[in-house]
């Protein structure tokens, strides 16, 4: 923590009303940040008739029936499984290929490699959803329409830009001496990479994993066009299926929303520590 930002004399810190006011504001904003989420959770615990009468009112009756119904009749178990498969799959693939590539980029002075780095970074500015039609035709040619594998590969490719961006920064910060030492011990490039370098960039990997997991988990656009069978649908698509068929059953819909969002919250809480460490380390050069 930087002392430059500390308010000066320690004694004056604790009790000033200004400070208390700011702390209050911080917590007030925290409530504001969580409000819609709370609304969603509360909505999922109320019976649908209550919701229709009084959508944002104070709950009186609480029930878990909505979740049961969403999971079973609503097929959310299946959607959940698909989401897990597609999202985790693509994150794993991206992390593997991007870490390999980033290491090479960080450690190589070749012009070609630098060109590749620029290429990957340009991916950050590519609005992929605009290319939905060519992607569809590509999938047709590769026989990947209505395949979860195809979707996974697409997502994995889309994550390369950001992953490279973060990982190259981290790799560049690691001292070259580490590899030199490993080489002296007789290790080859790959072993050095796997056993020494990768563990050192764990915070970066965690960051990349989370920042890729969330948007892919929540994406509705590509599964829309590229998947056809219901049994392949991930959660966001399943949600609409559900809304279409059970239009006025808002309560179960909310339960579906909660099922869709809670895993992300869990993942995020787990990974937060790593991410903060990662970003902080990255910034302070």
């Amino acid at each position: 923590m930087s002392a430059a930002v500390n308010l000066s004399a320690a004694g004056r810190r604790r009790l000033s009303p200004g400070r208390a006011g700011v702390t209050f504001l911080l917590w007030a904003y925290a409530v504001f940040a969580l409000l819609p989420l709370a609304l969603m959770v509360i909505g999922s615990l109320r019976p649908n008739s209550d919701l229709l009468r009084d959508p944002a009112g104070i709950p009186t009756n609480l029930t878990l029936d909505n979740f049961v119904e969403a999971w079973t009749t609503g097929n959310f178990a299946e959607y959940f499984g698909n989401s897990l498969l597609i999202t985790a799959g693509s994150v794993v693939i991206t992390v593997v290929v991007a870490t390999l590539a980033s290491y090479a980029i960080a450690r190589s002075r070749s012009r070609i490699i630098q060109g590749i780095e620029a290429l990957f970074l340009s991916g950050l500015v590519m609005p992929l959803h605009l290319a939905v039609l060519p992607i569809f035709f590509l999938f047709e040619q590769l026989g990947l329409v209505d395949s979860r594998l195809g979707l996974t590969l697409l997502y994995a490719a889309s994550g390369i830009a950001f992953a490279t961006f973060v990982l190259t920064t981290f790799f560049r910060q690691l001292p070259v001496e580490l590899e030199e030492a490993a080489a002296l011990d007789g290790a080859n490039q790959l072993t050095t990479f796997i056993q020494i370098m990768v563990p050192l960039v764990r915070p970066a990997i965690a960051t990349v994993a989370v920042f890729q997991f969330v948007p892919i988990w929540n994406d509705f656009f590509f599964p829309l066009v590229l998947l056809r069978t219901e049994s392949n649908y991930p959660l966001p698509v399943g949600l609409t299926t559900f809304f279409g068929e059970h239009a006025s059953n808002y309560a179960v819909a909310f339960a579906g929303l909660v099922i869709t969002t809670i895993p992300l919250v869990a993942l995020f809480l787990l990974a937060t520590k790593q991410i903060v460490a990662g970003l902080t380390a990255g910034m302070s050069k």
Partner: protein, 299 residues
């Protein structure tokens, strides 16, 4: 690292990237140069589709308006997310015990999918059923209980506000880390010279934060130019009400899939190319400026 090894290491990523990103993007760009009948491609037409973007309806009315909206969105985001983000990050620096929890809480809206966000906020702000207006009325602030998403003057602010709400975690984290990277001695030295806390903040800390602000600017610019899901969730593909939250990507979607024009794909692709050039050009220029500023700072 030897070049051959490096190439081997980058090969898998390169292959994946080339097949699923580069190829479709280039194909999409090429679409802009052909005529189209539905989804059947016709002959080469050069820059005709681009000319259409500047001469024919709906582009002559909708494109400038949408572009203005994207720009306002960008400026709004920069102002609010930077001021609030820096403010919060600064306040959190001196509260180490609650920092972790608050940072996590502030970041949770990011986890909610944009469609869900759009739905939840529409519900909260509904003039008929929403609690926000009821609460405002209960507090005696009747004049503020307007149709937030129904007025062209307030709807864009809702989109900006909800975007900031959704993404604030990132600037807070980034600026927090940036604050952490400022050496203590600088502030100490200034204070010893008699500078007040306020002066330290504005004259010492803030300038050193500029690289982080720069990064934030580039990323925000890209986001603001591409934004689709949130305005779609609030205003549909037309940017209702009255096109006040119409953005370029909504226009693209509307033209490509929503109109009766049979040559839609050609025009939509031309629009996509234009958008890409703007984003790429803007990001490139901003990054160059940033590098130059950074080197001036260091050197």
């Amino acid at each position: 690292m030897r070049r051959r090894t490096a190439l081997l290491f980058t090969a898998p990523a390169l292959l994946l990237f080339a097949v699923f990103i580069l190829y479709p993007m280039f194909t999409m760009f090429s679409y802009a140069f052909f005529s189209w009948a539905g989804t059947a491609r016709g002959g080469f037409v050069g820059l005709d589709n681009f000319v259409t973007l500047f001469t024919r309806a709906p582009f002559t009315t909708d494109l400038p308006r949408a572009a203005m909206n994207n720009l306002t969105f960008f400026i709004g985001l920069m102002v609010f997310q930077n001021s609030i983000g820096i403010g919060i990050a600064y306040a959190l620096q001196s509260r180490p015990r609650i920092r972790q929890s608050l940072q996590t809480i502030y970041a949770t809206p990011y986890l909610i999918g944009p469609i869900i966000v759009g739905y939840l906020w529409s519900l909260l702000l509904s003039p008929v059923f929403g609690p926000v207006n009821s609460a405002l009325r209960a507090l005696g602030l009747d004049s503020l209980a307007v149709a937030w998403l129904g007025e062209p003057s307030t709807a864009p602010w809702v989109v900006i506000g909800v975007s900031v709400w959704q993404w604030i975690g990132f600037p807070v984290l980034l600026y927090g880390a940036a604050f952490g990277g400022i050496p203590a001695e600088l502030g100490e030295a200034a204070r010893m010279d008699g500078a007040t806390n306020r002066q330290v903040f504005f004259r010492v800390t803030l300038p050193l934060l500029m690289p982080a602000v720069g990064t934030m600017t580039v990323l925000t610019f890209i986001f603001a130019m591409e934004v689709f899901a949130l305005p779609y969730a609030f205003g549909g593909s037309t940017g209702s009400p009255a096109g006040s939250i119409d953005f370029v990507s909504l226009l693209f979607y509307r033209v490509a899939f929503g109109s009766g024009a049979t040559d839609a794909i050609g025009n939509a692709s031309a629009l996509a190319v234009l958008l890409f050039l703007v984003i790429f050009g803007g990001a490139f220029a901003a990054t160059r400026l940033l590098r130059r500023y950074e080197s001036r700072l260091v050197g």
